[in-house]
Amino acid sequence: MSHKNLLVVDDSATTRMLICLTLKKEGVYNITEVANGQEAVDKLGAESVDCVLTDINMPQMNGLDLISYIRSSHSEPKVPIIIITTQGEEASRDEGLSKGADAYLTKPISGPKLVTLVKELLQDA
């Protein structure tokens, strides 16, 4: 099975470490981590990415702007995007999904839930 490339975007190094540790255990993902939307844009321009996991509140470029950028510039194949945020309000969820995210998870992260979701989205993609 070929390894899928995941891009983890979060300004919290603690959260990035937890996400990477949770997904690396599966043994089928190459994970790149960056601290904000702008760094993610740079990575997306340089590397092939199969799935993006992003926070919303970040300096320089936030998660919603990053999603808008991905959806407007990368039409095919559609890269699955998962929002992982502390914002649990319904309005935030709706906004994230309407911008083009495929799934919305709230922090604290549930490891099994995250693993299942990434697997599902990569199967569908």
């Binding site: 919290s12 190094a13 603690t14 959260t15 470490m17 937890l18 540790l21 949770t22 255990k25 502390t86 649990g88 309000e89 709230t106 922090k107 604290p108 549930s110 490891g111 099994p112």
Partner: protein
């Protein structure tokens, strides 16, 4: 679902359950009748069938036990991953502002705290001073707290953790912290971690949260004190270096 429709569905389920019991009884009767009339070969087949049924039920039971064990192991794995990350991050740096940032990240993103504070005990002033926090400015306009006063002061004085976990909305007291933990170094309380409010989508602490909070209480103190000492030593070193440069230049 409308009430009438719900009652009808419940009635239907009861009727169906009764029918299943009747059918099971009929099958058992038929099998018993067949067993009484059965010849040698048929009896052997019936015995084999009964044995297969017994083994199937055993396998089902084992499956159920394995499923439970899998869930338990998954929970333990998750707890270990969380604790590993929290402890790694707490001791990842000697920079005081970074240590404070990391503790905030652990409380906000791993435990799900929305309003929290980190207090350090000032022995000379007998006060707890706010070192860092989020969303608690309105609660503590002076950024200090006398020891021995209120829940936070009590925890600082006794070194015993305090948890307030309301079971329903009516029990909620917005002025009472949900968790107050002493930060200890060699059995001496050097500070207190206080959580006033959890994120709106998080209703209560989970068992993993309790483990993370225990770890923070045990390790945050050494991380903070180490960073403070390192900062002080660094400043002294720079002063001495500056002095040495001055002496050399003369």
């Amino acid at each position: 679902m409308p009430q009438g429709k719900e009652t009808k569905t419940t009635d239907d389920v009861e009727v169906l359950q009764e029918r299943v019991v009747q059918l099971e009884r009929q099958v058992a009767d038929l099998e018993a009748g067949f067993a009484m009339q059965a010849t040698g070969g048929e009896k052997a087949l019936l015995d084999a069938l009964s044995e297969v049924r017994g083994r199937l039920s055993q396998v089902e039971k084992e499956n159920y036990e394995f499923a439970n064990m899998y869930v338990e192991i998954q929970e333990q794995n998750e707890a270990m991953a969380n604790l590993y990350v929290a402890s790694q991050r707490l001791h990842a740096t000697f920079d005081l502002s970074e240590v404070k940032q990391i503790i905030s990240e652990i409380l906000a993103e791993m435990v799900g705290a929305e309003e929290f504070g980190l207090f350090i005990f000032d022995k000379s002033k007998k006060k707890l001073e706010l070192l860092s926090g989020e969303g608690i400015q309105n609660r503590l306009p002076k950024n200090t707290f006398p020891t021995g006063e209120g829940v936070i002061g009590d925890v600082a004085a006794t070194g015993e953790a305090f948890f307030f976990e309301p079971k329903s909305d009516s029990e909620v007291d917005v002025n009472l912290p949900l968790a107050t933990l002493p930060m200890k170094l060699n059995d001496t309380t050097v500070g207190v971690v206080v959580i006033y409010k959890l994120l709106s989508h998080k209703k209560a602490f989970t068992p993993i949260d309790h483990q993370i909070l225990e770890l923070v209480a045990a390790h945050a103190a050494s991380a903070l004190i180490s960073a403070k000492l390192h900062g002080a030593m660094d400043r002294r070193l720079k002063t001495i270096e500056g002095f040495m440069q001055l002496m050399k230049s003369r």
